[in-house]
Symmetry: C2
Subunit: 215 residues, 2 copies
């Protein structure tokens, strides 16, 4: 039973330039993120993911030990992209006053979630099941939640947003921002708008900021 030892976890310390597994791994993770977000954990099959990545199905169990751990790797990559994006945006606003910076951060959140609805979809899926995968997600979301709540508390003190308890404001923002894009297919059918177009995304960011900040 003990054969070639499968790499247990995703340790970036592997400096091997062998037949280089990393590109293949990345393709699998990207395909997994897409299919898990589109069809949910149960709905996406390992064969579909393998086909989308252009590899054989057993390779998923080779690189990741199970479907569950492949899901975790996909979630990790999505959170990494989101955190990187928000950090970049924050770093680029060093000199700006707090309220203007907050407005731009909200805009960034809306536009990012419009073009990357996968993470929101996965969180919505797992939140209904409420299993151990929800624990995993909550640990990733918590830093973002804490930072956002602190931001809203500060803005409310400054009078920039209505004095609504921060947790409620948080769920109003995370609902009002991405829902139009998470429900993209529905939105297209009902309103005729294309939720992937730049104009619609900008208009929605305008709407959310207008409602939150008053103008």
């Amino acid at each position: 039973m003990v054969k070639g030892m499968p790499p247990t976890t995703a340790q970036p310390e592997d400096r091997t330039t062998r037949p280089s597994a990393d590109p293949t791994r990345d393709r699998i993770v990207a395909a997994a993120a897409d299919l898990f977000s589109a069809r949910s954990f149960d709905g996406a099959t390992t064969r579909q993911i393998a086909a989308a990545a252009g590899v054989a199905q057993p390779l998923l169990n080779y690189h990741f030990r199970s479907k569950e751990m492949l899901w975790q790797a996909a979630v990790d990559s999505l959170f990494t992209v989101l955190a990187q994006r928000m950090a970049d945006r924050f770093a680029g606003l060093r000199g700006v006053d707090a309220v203007t910076r907050a407005k731009l951060q909200v805009r960034e959140f809306v536009t990012f979630s419009a073009r990357n609805p996968q993470l929101h979809r996965i969180i919505l899926q797992e939140s209904t099941t409420d299993g151990p995968r929800m624990d995993y997600l909550a640990d990733h979301v918590r830093p973002l939640y804490d930072a956002t709540v602190a931001l809203f508390d500060d803005l409310a003190r400054k009078g920039a947003v209505p004095s609504i308890p921060a947790p409620h404001l948080y769920y109003i923002l995370t609902g009002a921002g991405p829902t139009m894009f998470v429900l993209g297919p529905e939105c297209r059918r009902l309103s005729g708008l294309d939720p992937t177009s730049d104009e619609v995304i900008e208009a929605h960011a305008d709407a959310v900021c207008r409602l939150l900040f008053g103008d």
Copy 2:
């Protein structure tokens, strides 16, 4: 796992009924609505639904021809309850002026979605897959969408809500209202609030109305 050979129905009243199908059918539909919303179409198995309804699994194929049609029956029942609830609320507000009536309707929508998140969860699940089941849902949502857009257009003309294009306001409302409760398990972990408690629900309805209507 109670599998008595006599019918396992724990019904205290067995007076008149022949094996009439309707009560059993209703139990199956209710169990299907719960499990489909909690675990998605693929995640919920027909055996789980049958067990929750207290019947054998082949009975689902007897009353409904397939899993797909059972899902449609569950969706129908959820939409029927929602439409009935909103119609009742609307009928009870005959003499009230338009703006006050709109505020109370928004409150009703928020509190209803808080206590009945199943429908929102199902729509969110299917919107990511975007298959024929999304067509089925869109046809049910369309009347609600049209009515809400017309309402927002009227409110914007009256100056009661910010002059934001109605489709964007619609998705802001359908996002800001139910998301805290659709993400109930996440909300409990991150904020410590109980999204099923009356106080939290009322506070969220306050917050949404405050943001939409300004006061």
